[in-house]
């Protein structure tokens, strides 16, 4: 084992191939994403919690509602009930986005990654593509399973109103959930590319996603209405809800608002990555 062969590497046996490009970087990033232990673990926990909590919410609300047959204006709609577990899912995808970048810094792997791919914009682009495509597929699968499970539970209580995929806009909301959580994951990824630190990025994202919108709503309406309407993660929610208050963006304009915000964040992160010492 400690012997060094005289011919350490057979130079002749090494084929001349074209230099690596974006596709090679994406292959590498895919390997890294799926072999990162936190990825499958976080996804498995997220799937169990999202679908489990949604099922529990569907059961409790539908059972309670059908036994008492009392309708209060404040009760959630059937679709809201079925999507009940997704607030946990949102958090999970955000954390996965953060970890996809920040784990490279916490483990000092980033130095090696940049030796293999010194073109930093290409590296960030590869990470964004691989993360969004894989998370989108997984989130869509989760969203449809979640819907069918909730739908089946509610169906057992005929007194409770139910929805189906063919109901007005329901399909959009179910597909939209996959899009929305993928975008929230990208928000985490962009934040981590800028902050390079797991804890800091998660705190920043939680504040942006959950805490600041709450504080905003406490402001006088003349302030909170316009800010709340365009606050990216709130505007993006139009895609996953059916009730549009007056005065709000449409589902797709709201999504575009969130996507544009993430694009700007990623461009800033790209600039910072190029300028800073690794």
């Amino acid at each position: 084992m400690t012997q060094v062969p005289t011919q350490i590497i057979a130079k002749s046996g090494f084929p001349e191939v074209a230099p690596p490009n974006l596709v090679d970087t994406m292959r590498s990033e895919w390997t890294k994403l799926k072999t990162l232990r936190s990825t499958p673990v976080t996804l498995a926990i997220a799937a169990v919690l999202v679908i489990g909590l949604s099922a529990l919410a569907s059961f409790l609300i539908a059972a309670n509602e059908s036994s008492e047959l009392q309708h209060h204006g404040s009760l959630p709609t059937p679709l809201q009930t079925i999507q009940g577990g997704w607030s946990v899912g949102l958090l999970a995808f955000m954390v996965l986005g953060v970890l996809a970048v920040s784990n490279e810094y916490s483990s000092t792997l980033i130095g090696v990654t940049l030796l293999a791919t010194p073109k930093r914009s290409r590296l960030l682009l590869a990470k964004v593509i691989v993360f969004s495509v894989s998370m989108f597929v997984i989130a869509e699968v989760m969203s449809f399973i979640n819907f069918f499970v909730g739908h089946a539970i509610i169906s057992a209580y005929p007194a409770f109103p139910n929805v189906s995929l063919t109901s007005h806009l329901v399909l959009r909301v179910v597909i939209g959930m996959g899009i929305y959580v993928t975008l929230v994951g990208l928000l985490g990824l962009g934040t981590a590319a800028l902050m390079r630190n797991t804890a800091g990025s998660i705190v920043a994202c939680v504040a942006f996603l959950f805490i600041l919108p709450g504080i905003l709503s406490a402001l006088p309406n003349s302030w909170s209405n316009p800010i709340g309407e365009y606050w990216p993660t709130e505007a993006g929610r139009r895609l996953i809800t059916l009730d549009h208050g007056p005065n709000t963006l449409s589902a797709w304009w709201g999504t575009a608002d969130l996507a544009l915000f993430i694009l700007v964040l990623l461009l800033i992160a790209d600039y910072a990555l190029a300028k800073r010492d690794a």
Binding site: S107, L109, L115, P118
Partner: protein, 306 residues
């Protein structure tokens, strides 16, 4: 070949690398020496495109690292032994690197075998000892069969077997005609491994020379003389231009006179000579002498703090 021209970098008000220029030639092991904090790692990181120079350039075969078309096939480097995700298997770590560099994937098992990690390839790298981590880092550096190799403090924390392995490896790589550039703060290690050394302190160049020349140049002429009649010969030696000190064991240490001249003076004075031997300073002493003014932190004394 690595070429560094007028490389300069500050971190805040402190200068890390100060107008440094040198070349690292292929076919030999070149040591990169300096006390802790001398700027070795920063220089290596600038060569590898990880840190941006303020002034100057660092190139590999005339091209800056970020412009290399297939970087891992042109330069292999180990900067930090544990630069991997601890939850990832050793093979997956190398697989991702090979994919990013479009290196044939069968090469992963080749380098794993070469560094002796085949048996633990499917174990999570977080459980690796420092020696295994170093081997994994070296496997990554060798993936692309690069003609230029850079190692930052590769023997730090290794056991003797690991040190010998790395030393033999570096010399073997150089013997194949590759450029091998190795940083260390241990002169004694470089004395055994390198044939050429670049010494820096506080970011600037102190010496760039063959190891043998460095010893000769720095030690001057030092001769030990042992005689029962020191009081007779010492004034004569001083008259002849020698500097004389007395060693702890009673021997006279003469600087600035050849052994032959000292012998002649003793003979003319009729003084018996029991020992007359030229002393070669160890590389360690040379290093201490060269970098004395450039050590970042000096101790205030040898006393033990109570």
């Amino acid at each position: 070949m690595i070429q560094v021209r007028n490389l300069t970098k500050h971190f805040g008000p402190n200068i890390a690398v100060d107008n440094l220029s040198f070349e690292v030639e292929p076919g030999r092991v070149t040591g990169f020496l300096g006390p802790n904090g001398a700027g070795k790692t920063t220089t290596l990181r600038m060569i590898l495109g990880l840190v941006r120079p303020e002034k100057g350039t660092a190139t590999v075969d005339g091209v800056s690292y970020q412009r290399l078309r297939a970087p891992m096939r042109e330069v292999g480097a180990v900067l930090d032994a544990k630069a991997y995700q601890p939850g990832r298997k050793a093979r997956d770590h190398l697989l991702a690197l090979a994919q990013a560099s479009r290196i044939p994937l069968k090469r992963v098992d080749e380098v794993l075998g070469f560094v002796g990690l085949s048996d633990v390839a499917d174990r999570r790298a977080g459980n690796f000892s420092l020696g295994m981590a170093q081997r994994l880092g070296i496997a990554g550096a060798l993936l692309g069969d690069p003609p230029v190799l850079i190692f930052d403090e590769p023997v730090n924390g290794l056991d003797p077997e690991g040190i010998v392995w790395i030393r033999t490896l570096m010399q073997g790589l150089a013997a194949q005609g590759r450029t091998v550039f190795v940083s260390s703060h241990l002169m004694s290690e470089m004395a055994l491994t390198a044939s050429h050394v670049i010494v820096i302190g506080r970011g600037h160049m102190i010496a760039d020379s063959e190891v043998e020349d460095l010893i000769k140049r720095s030690s001057g002429i030092v001769v030990r003389l042992r005689t029962p009649k020191a009081e007779v010969v010492v004034p004569r030696l001083q008259t002849a231009g020698g500097k004389v000190e007395t060693d702890s064991d009673g021997a006279i240490v003469v600087t600035g006179l050849e052994a032959a001249a000292i012998g002649d003076i003793a003979f003319q004075a009729g003084v018996p000579v029991h020992e007359l031997s030229p002393v070669e300073a160890s590389l360690e002493e040379v290093f201490m002498e060269l970098t004395r003014d450039d050590v970042e932190f000096h101790g205030t004394g040898a006393g033990v703090v109570q």
